[in-house]
Amino acid sequence: MHLLSVDSVSRDFDVSSPWLNRVLEREPRRILRAVDHVSFEISKGETLALVGESGCGKSTVARLIAGLYAPTEGHIAFSGRRLQMIFQDPYASLNPRWRVRKIIAEPMLFLEEQKPVEQFLLQVGLSADDAERYPHEFSGGQRQRISIARALAGEPDLLICDEPTSALDVSVQAQILNLMADLQDRLGLTYLFISHNLAVVSLIADRVGVMYLGRIVELAPASRLFSSPRHPYTRMLLDAVPDLAMSGKSRTPVAGEVPNPLAPPSGCSFHPRCRYATARCQVEVPRFSDGVACHAVEEGRLPT
């Protein structure tokens, strides 16, 4: 039994102009499909990461699971009792008028047992005195620790982390990533980790789903995905990561940009940027099977 299973979930947003403009300018309704038939499962104690560039729908998936949006199609089944979310911006996600004590105690209002706030502060590496302070007295990294303490206070079965370190400096990011790994070891937490940073994902994830224009194009164990990526988009993303080791390996220059999601390309939505695209890719949407959605992989046309 999986802790979470997402079954062919889609989500549309209506981005039409206001009614009067539509009538006067004879515009049709415009629907943006942010998430398109996405399926995956998460087991207890594992970390699944979703990666992709901006606009690929990864944050929308997080919000669908958290119940902040309702799916347009498909089902989400959660066999745990509670989930909590950690957001990217540690400045916007804490109420500036509340003391840290009240912020952390809030999720416990819904629990039978109220644990002391200090316990959670110590767990995330803050001190017990910090409970009486206000969010503005803390740095960005410390605020993200408060967000994590608040999430832990709700005793979640699943933690959804939406770009939790993207707004932080690298040395602070290292502190938060280490903290998240330690907490997982100690408390057996389950994470859904949303990020655009492949290096961060390679560090923290057990399995990785790569998203492009609302679809998952590849889903594989992290070790496999990073050592032998299959989908051309995954390969392109990995290739675009700056090479810190300065090995001087030659890189295929990446062509083009993510297309407008309001008018996604026909067939495989990656085909205009894909070196291996054929006529079939332009018309037929590839089926997701065996961890990847790509005609070229299915036909065995890709170099390894």
Binding site: E53, S54, D169, S171, A174, L198, S202, S227, A240, V258
Partner: protein, 319 residues
Amino acid sequence: MILEVRGLSVQFPSRRGILTAVDDVSFSIAPGEVLGVVGESGAGKSMTGLAVIRLLEPPGRISAGEVRLEGRRIDNLRHEEMRRIRGRKIGVIFQDPLTSLNPLYTIGEQIEETILTHLPLSKSQAREHALSLLREVGIPAPEARYSNYPHHFSGGMRQRVVIALALAAEPRLLIADEPTTALDVSIQAQIIALLKRLAAERGAAVMLITHDMGVIAETAQRVAVMYAGRIVELGPVRDVIHSPRHPYTVGLMGSIPKLGVKQDRLLQIEGAMPRLTAIPQGCAFNPRCPRRFDRCLTDRPELLAAGASRAACWLHASP
């Protein structure tokens, strides 16, 4: 040398006394060279760039040091003169392309205006020049895009337009402050390749300010690592990345997650960079430094020779 900076300091008067945001910084950039300036937020890297082009927001001001562009001092020029040099000799690229582009003018008009202000060309020559710049930075079908407004372009394309604008007057020095930070990885790689090619082909000096060591590794020949307003390490990129000499650089490199390297935990520097109001005595890094000793608490280290690089750390003092 195209750019030479000696002993540059920037101060801000505040209610809590005078704050020093940039403290005695010296470096130089040769023709065709890309110097990376790396550091975390508040390290003073952007402030150093703004001081060089004299765009500091008052009450911030240069309190000491000198800046020379092709041998000529520019830190004490009058504002009018500096304004001419800024467009003509120095091109600037900021993180958010929308702050550098006027939303009310087409991109063609904006580039053309810059060319006509600084170069002795006729209007039709300026248009030709603008089109060739747009072609050079990789805007497809520049004739068709010439009369488009900035909002017609995607983020990556806008940043290309800003680069074309910065290059319009054929500057000797290009200052790029986080030019790829707002962009997706695939676009980021395209912009890095472009900057690198332009520096090499035009022989301009590039000062690349970023928090991203990966971008520096791909682009720069030398790198200056900043911490709490000072340069703590300066050397060839390869040496700084593979054998960092300052304990802060060691910690910084260790805290970056790397692809293809199996690791369970990242190296962690405890604590955070000090605020400008509370810079510690001696070496500013000493409260976080795993290797500090008595001297670090009292004396502030200068840049000392350390391998192929220089590091501001007493570990490298000759006995």
